[in-house]
């Protein structure tokens, strides 16, 4: 059986004159938590959107579990976008119903249980929640699917350290062997201890793809430090 969950082959994407992705080649196995690390504007979100089929690529090929990007690939990817797409006026229970309608692999019981831990009630509306709380609700929704690939785009952007801890713990608690989590971030020091592998992306190119502990061992530095040194402005 093919253990590769995600393959990007010679992927290129241009926005007009600007080359956003330059010949990206990566193969991600299943069963890992992988960090996609890059500065603002390095191409993280573009790559993530391409994998999710939200924008078309100009060259190359993306395969998810051997399938080209499309309806079938979307069924096995649970995606947390950088910006919310949830309607602020809906109640939690309506959103959960919507998710279970939409995704065959959505586990409503699990979602309610996780929300209950956060003291969020079914009748609560998103519009009355704080930014951190909304982020948590979205993460709960994404992690309540039984997907093969979870893609989290900046899951910890703009939230306080306690919320970051909650988010990390939720990710860890709900990660199971058969799946892979790809998460992008520029807040490296907060998440590096949970990463198996790291991908560095800079100016639309992959500059590193390595085992996190191996990189620490070889450099004697934290991933955060290696990153800062390589991408000094």
């Amino acid at each position: 059986m093919n253990n590769l969950l995600l393959e990007c082959k010679n992927v290129c994407k241009n926005y007009g004159q600007k080359e956003a992705l330059k010949d990206i080649n990566i193969s991600l196995p299943s069963g890992k938590i992988i960090g996609l690390l890059g500065k603002n504007g390095s191409g993280k979100t573009t790559l993530i959107k391409a994998i999710n089929g939200l924008l078309s690529i100009d060259k190359g090929e993306i395969l998810i579990d051997g399938k080209v990007v499309g309806t079938e690939s979307k069924k096995i990817i649970s995606y947390l976008p950088e910006r919310t797409y949830l309607s602020m006026h809906e109640k939690v229970k309506d959103i959960i119903e919507y998710f279970s309608d939409f995704y065959d692999d959505f586990d409503s019981d699990k979602a309610y249980k996780l929300l209950d831990n956060l003291k969020i009630k079914a009748d609560d509306k998103l519009s009355v929640m704080s930014k951190g709380m909304k982020e948590k609700v979205q993460l709960v929704l994404v992690m309540s699917r039984k997907a093969k690939l979870y893609i989290l785009d900046e899951p910890m952007g703009g939230v306080d350290p306690a919320t970051r801890d909650y988010i990390l713990n939720t990710i860890l608690n709900n990660f199971d062997d058969g799946s892979t989590i790809l998460m992008s971030t520029h807040l490296i020091s907060d998440i590096e201890r949970v990463l198996d592998e790291v991908i560095f992306i800079d100016d639309g190119k992959i500059t590193r793809y390595e085992d996190a502990d191996k990189l620490r061992d070889e450099s004697g530095k934290s991933i955060d430090e290696v990153f800062r040194e390589e991408f000094k402005c």
């Binding site: 069963g31 890992k32 938590i33 990390l168 713990n169 860890l172 608690n173 990660f175 062997d177 020091s189 590096e192 201890r193 949970v194 990463l195 198996d196 996190a212 502990d213 191996k214 620490r216 061992d217 004697g220 530095k221 934290s222 991933i223 955060d224 430090e225």
Partner: protein, 116 residues
């Protein structure tokens, strides 16, 4: 537990668990928590826990019972030897540091006795 991000995390977890075994937090023959439990407990990736456990297995501090999970070795001798090797290592480090400061072995011993 606070991890140092500059050292492989699995190695730090291995050292932590080895210490827990030699100091009797986990007793000889006792079942140790599952990969998932340890991953939640130490807030690290399950693969990292797996790597730390396989190192512990290499030094024979734990063993796997195929369906039941992982257990601390029943050989008290192995645990004792590991404890002694840790103590020895720390002693050598200490002596070397003191020698770098210009102390002789005799002076080091006097120093230890004076500080007990």
């Amino acid at each position: 537990m606070k991890f140092n991000n500059e050292m492989p995390i699995y190695l730090q977890l291995f050292q932590r668990l080895a210490l827990d075994i030699v100091t009797g937090k986990y007793l000889a023959g006792e079942k140790i928590p599952s990969v998932r439990e340890l991953s939640v407990m130490y807030k690290v990736n399950p693969n990292t826990v797996q790597k730390a456990l396989s190192e512990l297995e290499d030094v024979e501090l734990i063993y796997t019972e195929r369906t039941n999970g992982k257990f601390v070795t029943e050989k008290k001798e192995t645990i004792k030897n590991y404890l002694e090797s840790l103590a020895k290592e720390k002693t050598i480090f200490y002596i070397n540091d003191m020698k770098d400061l210009g102390y002789s072995l005799k002076e080091i011993i006097e120093m230890i006795e004076g500080n007990e």
